[in-house]
């Protein structure tokens, strides 16, 4: 995100906190590409990714007045998405249905988005590799290497120490590459 985008985002958050409805739409437009992408690689199911993205925005924008520091909107949004994702993963009903979803996930493309075949192949391979990581490891990898959050921001979002982030990241990257190249 450019520094101009960051300032724009901050001012939109402040305006939205004061009740400006246009600012809510602007906040969505400024962040939805990143949020949708993050949820897609996190969930490997396009429909689940859309649900999590939507629910995260509803919670974040609905409780926007609780956000004390407007510069932390994106981190806050990702934190909500993380919590929703982990709740979904840990739910016994969802754990049982995961095997069924795996075979059906590519049939449910969500709202009709089509990628080129080479992009689709890359995306599919990446998603399959990520799926083979533990959910918490997947989260950390995507926050640092896909979303380019700092170690400090990732630690805040995940609720762990920065030292823990650094330590785990090395092992997660090693596992990821080994599986990706397998």
């Amino acid at each position: 995100m450019s520094s101009k985008d960051v300032l724009d985002l901050e001012s939109q958050v402040r305006r939205a906190q004061k009740g400006d409805p246009q600012a809510l739409s602007q906040l969505l437009r400024l962040t939805q590409v990143r949020m949708s992408r993050f949820c897609l690689y996190l969930c490997h199911d396009p429909q689940l990714a859309q649900d999590i993205a939507q629910d995260s925005y509803v919670r974040a924008l609905g409780d926007l007045r609780k956000l004390k520091d407007p510069t932390k909107f994106v981190s806050w949004l990702f934190k909500i998405a993380k919590n929703l994702f982990l709740d979904h993963v840990k739910s016994p009903r969802n754990a049982r249905n995961e095997a069924l979803e795996d075979s059906q996930s590519e049939a449910r493309k969500g709202d009709g988005f089509q990628q080129s075949s080479s992009d689709a192949e890359f995306s599919l391979h990446l998603k399959d590799t990520l799926k083979r990581l533990e959910p918490e490891d997947r989260l950390l990898l995507l926050l640092i290497d896909l979303e380019e959050r700092t170690y400090f921001e990732a630690a805040e979002i995940l609720g762990i120490s920065e030292a823990n982030v650094r330590f785990r990241l090395h092992h997660i990257r090693k596992e990821f590459i080994n599986k990706y190249e397998d």
């Binding site: 988005f113 090395h170 090693k174």
Partner: protein, 181 residues
Amino acid sequence: METSNFENKTQQIFAVARAQDTGVSPFLETRVLAHLREKEATRSRRTLALWRGFSVCSGALSLLLISWIAVHRAPEGGLLAPVDRAVVVRVELGDLKALGRVARIRIDLPSGVSFYSQNHQQLSGASSVLLAVDTNKNSTYIPFAVLAKQAGSKPILVRFLDEQSTVVAERILDIRFKEGA
């Protein structure tokens, strides 16, 4: 070296991922804003229901409070009396006389109210009186007459005293004086 190798490879892969268009649902913004509007409407309905409930309850609560006050300050017989006309008031002695504790009664009248007596002129116009209780008599009450020059609710304080002039009980008699009652 190995660490940076894995790091570099990972970062290259995700750089490609970032450059790709993974698409955004065209309905995301509409659905989110619709949900937020629904949440806000529900919150407004809940707040309105709460205020409605509060206004009903506060009315009921006020009524309850007034009733409670009225019950605890209920006059002996609950008198409504006319202004400028003598009214006879009875103070029941009840168990106090039976216990032999009451030797005297002190009656204090509020402003605008005075005692009335045709036979005992020294009482007429007085606002306070101390009466002896005759324990030999079978009567269980003490009567007295009052006259009010002003309309309004006038509390009359009756104190029951023992031989040592210690207050053993007291009662407040509320008489509402009204023009033309």
